[in-house]
Amino acid sequence: MKTTSGWDANLAAEIIGRHKNTEGPLLPILHSLQEAFGYIPEPAEPLVAEALNISRAEVHGVVTFYHDYRHAPAGRHVLKLCQAEACQACGSDALAAQAESKLGVKLGETSADGRVTLEPVYCLGLCSVSPSAMIDGRIVGRLDAKKLEALIAETSR
């Protein structure tokens, strides 16, 4: 899928220039690009490749290797549900099913109206207060059906 929403070549060049001279600059550049655009726009890849004197394939390889880098903008809200073992032990499967059915999307998908992206996450390190979730960067522990319902309601705002 080709997406160029919100693309700004000057801003991208400024971000690349900011990190270019640090050691191992690629991940910091990609993090900053994603922070600015919400995803890694495809036209950014050749610019990064050029600046770091590496091939475009290498940049694309890195962008697609890491789960964090998005290839399209996320929904307005991002709800991440921890699906790792400590949360499984406390009922995360049922919570994921509840979210999927209420939001009408599967884990890893964005709703058609662009309102919410539902994602699995493999461990937020909140394993002693599991199950856990993260909504728009805010962490939530001791998640249960009622608390999840409130989080789902937040995504409709």
């Binding site: 191992g24 789960h67 461990c123 390190g125 394993c127 207060v129 001791r142």
Partner: protein, 522 residues
Amino acid sequence: MSAPTGSLRVYVPGDAAAVACGADDIAKTIRDLAAKKNVAVQVIRNGSRGMHWLEPMLEVETGEGRIAYGPVEAADAESVFEAMLTTGGEHKLRVGKPEDHPFMKKQTRLTFARCGIVDPRSLEDYCAHGGYRGLNKALAKPANIVAEVTQSGLRGRGGAGFPTGIKWKTVADTKAEQKYIVCNADEGDSGTFADRMIMEGDPFVLIEGMTIAGIAVGATKGYIYIRSEYPHAIDVMNDAIRAARQGGVLGDKVCGSAYVFDLEVRVGAGAYVCGEETALLDSLEGKRGQVRAKPPLPAHKGLFGKPTVINNVLSLATVPIIMDKGAEFYKNFGMGRSRGTMPIQLAGNLNYGGLFETAFGITLGELVDDIGGGCFTGRPVKAVQVGGPLGAYFPRALFDTPFDYEAFAAKDGLIGHGGIVVFDDTVDMAKQARFAMEFCAIESCGKCTPCRIGSTRGVETVDRIMKGIERDKNLAVLTDLCNTMKFGSLCALGGFTPYPVMSALTHFPEDFGGAPRLEAAE
């Protein structure tokens, strides 16, 4: 600290486990109430003491020490604050002195000595609680650091258990113009949060440990690679590094000496495999986080091809106390070849989850039943996964296994990074075995075939077994596949995924459609 003297000191943890249970809102409520009642209150965002079932656990400083209350929910905040105003008075949530709680009294806190006690962003507070004593002793005899760490018996707390001192010696003995200290803070194992707690609760101990490592091996630059799922830890570490530079304990003249050492935080991007040390180095260099073949060892050719010490957060955070109290002191804790203490993380379906640091040798049963208090669902414990997604599932029959690298290996398991995840009797072990393979398939870096393809074939094979399709033949295939992955994979991801799979199959055959294993057979 700018609060007026004589103001009431209230501690509201900033640890992510407390924040996830509402601590930020409670901190704000306390500040608002103080303003409304016109009382001078200083709110300190400390780390967590580790009694996570009591989080958010608030504390107030009184003449008799700190008095705790927890778990404090929004509705309780005002009444708890009222109780605090009467110098730690009665309340239904009153815990008393945290250090007197049985969960704390049973521990030996060496690595976590200050966690939950100090203000994590205050270098002054760190030094007032014994911080930088280790570094000052190291500076007095820098040539002795490596020997001291070796003699302490400290082994890699990330899971591999390799002697830390030997790693350091290899780097120290390798000549190079540039060397690096890399801290592996890519704590991706489910059931583990000790690295996160140290970074959020006592970040200077990690900075001090890395600085000592730099002095010991001749490295001037260090990187802390923190996973992106830990935004709170990233914030605190960055603040602490800035404070350390300002305080002169990091930078051009470490503590006024001729040594140079500086640190930088780098953030991961959601790849579990980057917790493997060579994949982490590739990621730091800006590549796909793929595992490197060894040799060369990172100690010879590590980050950017330079000699590199790469250690887990807990290993590095334990070095200051070893340098301060001496190798003998540390070595005297523990059993067999597992010396010192291990910060054990109790997680999953438990009544009393949290951080429990103790000398090696405590049994799994004591940890799960006595310390952890069994399942919070009130149901019997069926299985316990020790050491993260790559660790084995232990049945109750093996609860007498002592927490020790070798003892766990002898039972076809591993202690890994010290995480314990407890499941009650509703768990389906075939499903857990399937998840282990599925997780490996999602997270495989793709470099070696046994891991990349074996994990996907593993999911399919478990699916067939669960459906009862040619069960015996498929069990043989699964066992053979696990063997190939175990011995043919390049790193622990493919190599250890067979542990949860085979342990589930061995100890819980009934979940795979077989006859239950007789307890007597253990």
